[in-house]
């Protein structure tokens, strides 16, 4: 009887102790997770992508009634605007017809000149269109979750475009769903170039809706309205993709409005420019060359 009592006291003591320190342990585990995440280990990334695949279908189900309501609202709202839109589209169509002629002439000229220069064209891009099922934007992060249906062409680091330009890159690839980091997120840093002056810089997200242009040469002449496109430096993003327009130029604060509408992203295009694979291949090739030289 005495032994039982002692055991009982011991168990209850342990239970009390655990209860008392549980919150401390859980706080420590939260800090530990953040630290592991900071050191960029694959453990968190892999666990998170598996977990995203588990959680995302639930959001996908909840999206259906929300989308239905939104589409009804949009339908009623757009009926009012239909006449104005029609006139605008007619004007735009006239301009586009004229531009198509010019573009065709330029295309032929480009082909001829490329042939003369023996120019090697970049690899052709392939793309996957994905539906956005979750969106996040606050002071802590800006991201999307898209349904990629386990497409094997979707890889980490690929460019994500909306109809107007670059909006982000693939951060996590799961079995069915992928996480996209938006260019407004604090983790987003894109090498860009100002189209008019060819001044290079880095478009850095800061969790606001207007990212900043940093590391721009001091003598760079920038003006409000200048278009910013990807520079292709670092080999992650291909050059020339439209990103945004400069909306303010202060001494140390150049702000860029993103061209892609981040607030109405229903579908995204995940583009594979074969850049990541090519860089890996070129690394392999350079390693092979070095090995041969050693031999």
């Amino acid at each position: 009887m005495k032994r039982r009592k002692v055991l009982f006291i011991h168990l209850s003591n342990i239970r009390l102790l655990v209860k008392k320190f549980a919150i401390v342990i859980l706080f420590i585990s939260a800090f530990a997770m953040m630290l592991i995440n900071k050191t960029d280990t694959v453990i968190i990334e892999k666990t998170s992508s598996v977990a995203t695949d588990v959680v995302s279908p639930l959001i996908d189900v909840l999206v259906i009634p929300a989308r239905l309501l939104a589409s009804v609202y949009d339908y009623v709202h757009e009926l009012k605007k239909i006449r104005e839109d029609n006139a605008l589209l007619r004007d735009e169509n006239k301009k586009l017809v004229m531009m198509t002629g010019k573009a065709r002439a330029l295309e032929i000229e480009n082909k001829l000149l490329s042939g003369l220069l023996n120019y090697t064209p970049p690899p052709e891009a392939t793309f996957v269109t994905a539906r956005v099922i979750a969106e996040e934007g606050n002071a802590f992060s800006h991201s999307l979750i898209a349904y990629t249906a386990g497409n094997p062409n979707v890889k980490k680091g690929q460019v994500v475009l909306s109809e107007n330009g670059v909006i982000g890159r693939i951060e996590q690839v799961g079995q069915m769903y992928s996480k996209i980091i938006l260019i407004t997120d604090i983790n987003s840093k894109i090498p860009v170039v100002v189209e008019r002056t060819r001044a290079r810089g880095i478009l850095s997200g800061d969790n606001t809706s207007i990212p900043k242009l940093v590391f721009v040469p001091l003598d760079a002449k920038l003006a409000i309205g200048d278009r910013v496109v990807t520079s292709g430096v670092a080999g992650v993003f291909p050059p020339g993709l439209p990103v945004g327009k400069i909306i303010s130029v202060d001494k140390n604060d150049i702000k860029v409005k993103v061209l892609g509408n981040l607030d109405r992203v229903e579908y995204v295009r995940i583009v594979d420019y074969n850049i990541i694979d090519d860089s890996e291949n070129s690394q392999d090739t350079s390693l092979m060359i070095e090995a041969k030289a050693d031999e």
């Binding site: 996040e136 002071a139 992060s141 109405r264």
Partner: protein, 172 residues
Amino acid sequence: MSEEFQESLIAYIQKFLPFVTSALWVLFSYIPLDSAVANNLRPDMGLMCVFFWTLHRPDVFNLFSVYFLGLVVDIITAAPFGSNVFSFLVMYLLVSNLAAYFNAKPFVVTWYGFSLFCLVTMLARWLLVSVYYSKFLPLPLLMFSVFATIAFYPVIGLVNAFVQNSLMKDEG
């Protein structure tokens, strides 16, 4: 199916109802909305649920429910993994230690309490994540989120109260 088994199954479901309701609210809050304001000023549903259930049903919404709810949010968001768990634990700590002050008080008092706790929790998380990135995150955006969360609390409170009163047994 015996009656005993049915009863124990219902009791089991009721035990998980606060967590399931909270998880649904959290998932619901990440649905894409076609509006710039709505997409940047989403209320923190998780924080509201942690406050409500810890205050009203600590018997079925315990520390581990808070922790797992934080994990669910961390999985969805791109914020540093663990930061949502941290903020939910801070909220739990505040509510579980100061719950006595809200006993038998009108809703407005609870709402004021939530407003204060929400501000403290969000600022704590803001500080932690700012240290993580070695850069201050945009404070105005955070304040808008705090206001949106506070403004939305009565709605969440009302629905959660309905779940508690009509679908769950009384405490004890």
